[in-house]
Symmetry: C2
Subunit: 325 residues, 2 copies
């Protein structure tokens, strides 16, 4: 089976250009931000969001390289994503991400506020200057979803009554909305008909959901080293994800442990055991598989191309991380 | 001479509606943000930015009440302004503003990041849904100017080489851009011709500059109680404003004191004396007067109305604060 690098190969050169542009846009003339920008845009990460935009742009454009506006859209998705990471890490007090120190811990909290605001502002400005009101509306919805998702996540910490529906909605807002709406925006810029826009949205949405669900499984199954951050950090911080919500249905004692915020000795260990030995992880995997089928079906109408093949591999590649940890 | 309350009388009822809308938009369904929203939108303040939008909307609309889009624009200006205050106070570590505790000091820094992001996101969403691309572009420029202004202000702390031009540019970005671009946006929504849009922009810009310049004088002349925060806090924190920049031309020792960040005994006191006893304050006042003349000239073309009279009084009322402290 193909690797992530192989899947992204059709847009590898595009992504190199994008990285250079992002560093120039953010760092230019601002020594204060230069260091943060270098740090942010070199800190690994698959650039999955801009890669999705660029790949879709090639696939709907009959193999033509993405035009200036599609490239700018790809940059905007990465700016929005990075801005929200910088602020989320600050709000969640996370000191490490993908094995690298977060901005507020490497520099300081003031810098993290400034860098995040600056990235959001740049994204807003470039977005408005794409000169397409529909695209502005799609991406402003993403910015709203990210902020709402972060607020709700904060509200629901250690709340054992939250449902799978709450979890799916939060995951949509925090992860899938950006992929869904930017995938649709690619179609808007290419002037595609409404039903094709819907299917691009659907592909982006389900890919985003797989991504989140897989991440939430890995938090329970992977090691600190594989994750680049402490394992089980979601549960520890009171963020209940799909495996934990399924486990709450099975273990009658889990709710109390959560509600008392794992303060009694052995609470966290017992909770981890409940998740790892129950059917929660298996049921979460099944959820991811169903998103995967749905994502691939959404792109059936696309004409055959190297990029279409890569897009159809993408959900599987994301899903496969489940088996690697 | 008229008071601020008298000048704002034509939009008093509009501002009441706006405050209710803002509280509902921000607080609804988010207990976490409810308290912050209540705090933010009750914490005094003249609501000068939405008042300007509403007054201009009435003046260009032949006395008709502002329509839904003009009202929404007014709300957006207040959301953007409030979001930037919340984050600026956090970045500048200010614990008090207008005599009231800032969000990060009353609640905590995480809450301030969330509340500011949420307000920016709401503003972006409502802006995109005004369905006018030109207005989106004007206001996204404001968001960019605010972020750039805050970054530059951070860069230039304790830098004695900054010029009056640097100061004016920073003041434009941090204060005047919002008033200038939202004033122009009122005209765009009313479908006014280009030369009238330019004059609305000019009025908003010069009014914003007066506002900033007056604030910067008061920092040196008013008491802690009058300011609702410690006097001379700008200079102390290394933010050089017009009076200090003029004083740097006159006092050969001031630059060293600034550069060593007022660390030697008596530095800050000597710097304050240099500003207060030199011609810096007088020259700053003259600058404000010239903005005032220019602002009023910009509105000459407006047909006579109660609202036009109020708009022409506004620069004088802002300027008069200089004589009250």
């Amino acid at each position: 089976m193909v690797s992530v690098a192989q899947v992204l190969q059709p847009v590898e050169a595009d992504l190199e250009v994008l990285l250079g542009n992002l560093r120039n846009l953010i760092g230019a003339g601002h020594p204060l931000l230069q260091a943060a920008a270098e740090h942010l845009f070199q800190a690994g990460g698959k650039k999955l969001r801009p890669a999705l935009v660029l790949m879709l742009a090639r696939a709907v454009g009959g193999g033509q390289p993405p035009d200036q506006r599609q490239r700018r859209l790809a940059e905007i998705t990465e700016m929005i994503h990075t801005a929200s990471l910088v602020h989320d890490d600050l709000v969640d007090e996370a000191s490490i991400r993908r094995g690298v120190a977060t901005v507020h811990s490497l520099f300081n909290p003031r810098m993290a506020v400034l860098a995040g605001d600056f990235l959001f502002a740049q994204a807003s400005w470039h977005l408005a200057n794409l000169d397409n009101l529909k695209v502005v509306q799609l991406l402003s919805q993403v910015i709203m979803d990210l902020a709402e998702g972060e607020v709700r996540q904060g509200l629901n910490r250690y709340d054992s009554r939250q449902t799978m529906e709450d979890y799916l909605e939060k995951s949509y807002r925090k992860t899938a909305s950006l992929m869904a709406n930017s995938a649709q925006a690619v179609g808007v810029l290419a002037a595609l008909p409404e039903h094709q826009l819907d299917s691009l949205y659907r592909f982006g949405r389900q890919l985003g959901m797989i991504f989140q669900v897989v991440d939430d499984c890995l938090d329970f199954t992977a090691s600190d080293q594989q994750l680049g951050k402490p394992a089980a950090s979601d549960l520890r911080a009171g963020y209940l994800t799909a495996p934990a919500i399924f486990a709450l249905e099975e273990d009658p004692h889990l709710a109390e442990r959560v509600e008392r915020q794992f303060t009694e000795p052995g609470d966290l260990e017992a909770a981890l055991t409940a998740v790892r030995q129950g059917s929660g992880l298996e049921r979460t995997r099944a959820l991811a598989y169903s998103f995967c089928q749905d994502a691939k079906a959404a792109l059936a109408w696309l004409p055959a191309s190297e990029e279409k093949a890569a897009l159809l591999d993408l959900p599987d590649v994301v899903l496969r991380r489940l088996n690697e940890c």
